[in-house]
Symmetry: C2
Subunit: 406 residues, 2 copies
């Protein structure tokens, strides 16, 4: 949570944190400016002090909505710095940070966050490190202070995720209803005009259902049937028809409009009937899911659950990444991930993870089995929230059933 | 254009380019993978050779749609590297790049692109520079080879932008029709149910019109009235009513669904009638626009046009950024910017820019005048394309008129 930042900075000996860049694709900047609709900005947080936002003049109204103390970039005369540097933006930007740090009384170990160009960041931070007196640049690699803070959610964040959850469940339900409402001809769904219903039609329905609920499909929904269902991140082909008795992996992960919180859920279903192999796989995945969920424990290292899933699947004869990192059949992805302002964030639930289940964690549990050569795939994904009292709440209020009657 | 990359690499003595990261918010990665729906990946381009895409196993189908040669990350045994590094991701990732570079015969000056965490990029690139034998990391700062390549569009890109333009113009037209169709009570627009029409209602209409055309409003549309119109990046308040005779700045900048190309256009209008001050400002902005557009010339430095706009406005008595970098009244932003896979990209049309108008450039011309204390703002924005024969094409087929009859 945001209130953990000072503690995290102290633990890691960070004197100040700078979060910068464009807002689009920059969840940590969104987090720090509380979703204010600036196009870009720089947040500076000295340890033990509230964060301040440096913004462009023409964005002063939107910047003010961050609730942070705001500073117009003109205060530091960036244009004058650019002129003095004869248009050399790197030199001018280093000069800008020198003025900012001086103005805010910042020295020592200063760490940089937010997204930006890789080469650009490398060059800028090296230049700051080399040229700003009294400042030593820190570049945390993975699991940085913001990843840590964002990995546990405050109640206001959980409330927002719950609302996205509710709308996502409604969308999944409406989509399955839409699909099953079609007539059948030769084992294939057909529309009123006699044309065959396609994966593209189903996806359009999903997009519209999300739109009507003020959610955004930032990355295309997965609605994958047959062989595509057997490859976890295949999105499904728009022209594919929808045939009875095939596993359909339906993975929806919408976001609040304006770059906010995500939800993420997956159901797998067969229309009309399910072949015996699909039934067996589904039962294995559901049993794995139940095994993991009933073992969830506050404070536990998450890798335990990925390993538990691997052991469970192996006991039922399926290959897994734990014993064969190159396998394309069986359990071929990690068990889960945190969700929030990024679709994938800490805690990362896999066997190389050092994350533990802390109060405020919001994370997926999503075991799956994939046999692309057999045209089969099954994944079930719910989101869990661990509250302050150590209780887990399933935020995904929707049944797990394989066969959908037509 | 993409075909310029080898030349740009040669000019800058870059032996290989690496573009990496998540796809979301990463236009250069989208550019290199041709919009393939991977969630993340690493593109490696050795100078003089086609680019290759290193991808996660579970994304192999989507990766194949990039049209690039693809390499499963398992080929380099990243999991083995992670194990050998006892879970140290930095060390494992450096090891991964060492294997990639060896495998692809890459040494010398290797530059990194794409978006990622700032501190993370700094630390990773320093570690690669220090630890991979024969490789020297290059971090271009601004105007990097991809900014340069992307600043001129190939015909296929222009065709996509034209299509977004067509839909954007339709949306603007439909929205103005929607707004003007309302009844008037006490100089304010009212809905059939007697409630007053709000800025929020207008924005909802815009969002839906874009959605119906398969476009996405990634950042909220600007529909700013009165004082908000006087602050260029104020988005407008949802609860504001829509009053006759006030300047409304309507700036729409949608994008192709799935992270593709943007368009960007602005009209300013007054409903019913326009006060004399608004009329005068509008005429000044339109005359400035015409002055700039009639002077556009292939090969010209873009700063010329920003300076021309400043001179024009000053000759009419308006303050500008050219003479007063801190002004909040008058012409307070830059004249324009390129558009493409980013809403703002090269060429950047301002007085500190070194960009020139090259064949393939697609850029905005958007003079504006702002007087927030008087509750007035006017901006007009069209997009121009400079073709291979040196001709400029206005891609914004919509009139510039201040008064909209009710």
């Amino acid at each position: 949570m945001k209130i953990d930042l000072d503690r995290l900075m102290a633990e890691r000996d960070i004197d100040a944190a700078v979060v910068m860049g464009s807002l689009a694709g920059n969840p940590t900047l969104y987090y720090m400016v509380n979703g204010a609709k600036i196009s870009s900005g720089t947040v500076v947080k000295k340890r033990g002090e509230p964060a301040v936002l440096i913004h462009n003049t023409i964005e002063r109204d939107e910047a003010a909505k961050s609730g942070l103390e705001t500073i117009d970039i003109n205060h530091y005369d960036f244009v004058g710095l650019l002129r003095a540097a004869e248009g050399n933006r790197l030199k001018a930007t280093v000069g800008l940070f020198e003025r900012v740090f001086q103005d805010r009384g910042i020295s020592g170990r200063v760490a940089f966050y937010g997204t930006g160009g890789r080469g650009e960041s490398y060059t800028l931070l090296r230049a700051i490190d080399a040229n700003v007196p009294g400042v030593r640049v820190v570049g945390e690699y993975s699991g940085d202070i913001f990843a840590a803070a964002r990995s546990t959610k405050a109640p206001t964040e959980v409330a927002r995720i719950r609302e996205v959850a509710r709308k996502t469940v409604e969308t999944v339900d409406a989509t399955i209803d839409f699909v099953r409402s079609h007539a059948i001809r030769d084992e294939v769904l057909v529309k009123r005009d006699g044309d065959r219903l396609t994966v593209g039609d189903a996806k359009r329905f999903v997009r519209r259902a999300l739109f009507e609920r003020d959610l955004v499909e930032e990355v295309e929904t997965i609605f994958a049937i047959g062989r595509d269902a057997g490859v976890p991140h295949s999105h499904g082909e728009d022209d594919d028809v929808i045939r009875l008795g095939r596993t359909i992996v339906f993975d929806v992960f919408p976001r609040e409009r304006g770059g906010g919180y995500f939800f993420d859920m997956t159901r797998t279903f067969c229309l009309g009937y399910a072949p015996a192999e699909a039934e067996a796989m589904f039962e294995d995945v559901r049993a794995c899911f139940d095994t993991v969920v009933s073992a969830l424990e506050a404070g536990a290292p998450v890798r335990r659950y990925h390993e538990m899933a691997c052991e469970f699947f192996e006991s039922r004869g399926h290959p897994t990444l734990c014993t064969d990192p190159g396998t394309e059949a069986g359990f071929v992805h990690t068990l889960g991930h945190g969700i929030g302002l990024s679709i994938h964030e800490a805690p990362f639930v896999h066997n190389m993870s050092n994350d533990v289940l802390e109060a405020g964690a919001v994370f997926t549990v999503e075991p799956g089995l994939y046999y692309p050569e057999q045209g089969l795939g099954v994944r079930l994904e719910d989101v869990f929230y661990l509250d302050e009292r150590g209780e887990f709440h399933n935020l995904t209020d929707y049944p797990q059933e394989l066969v959908v009657k037509t």
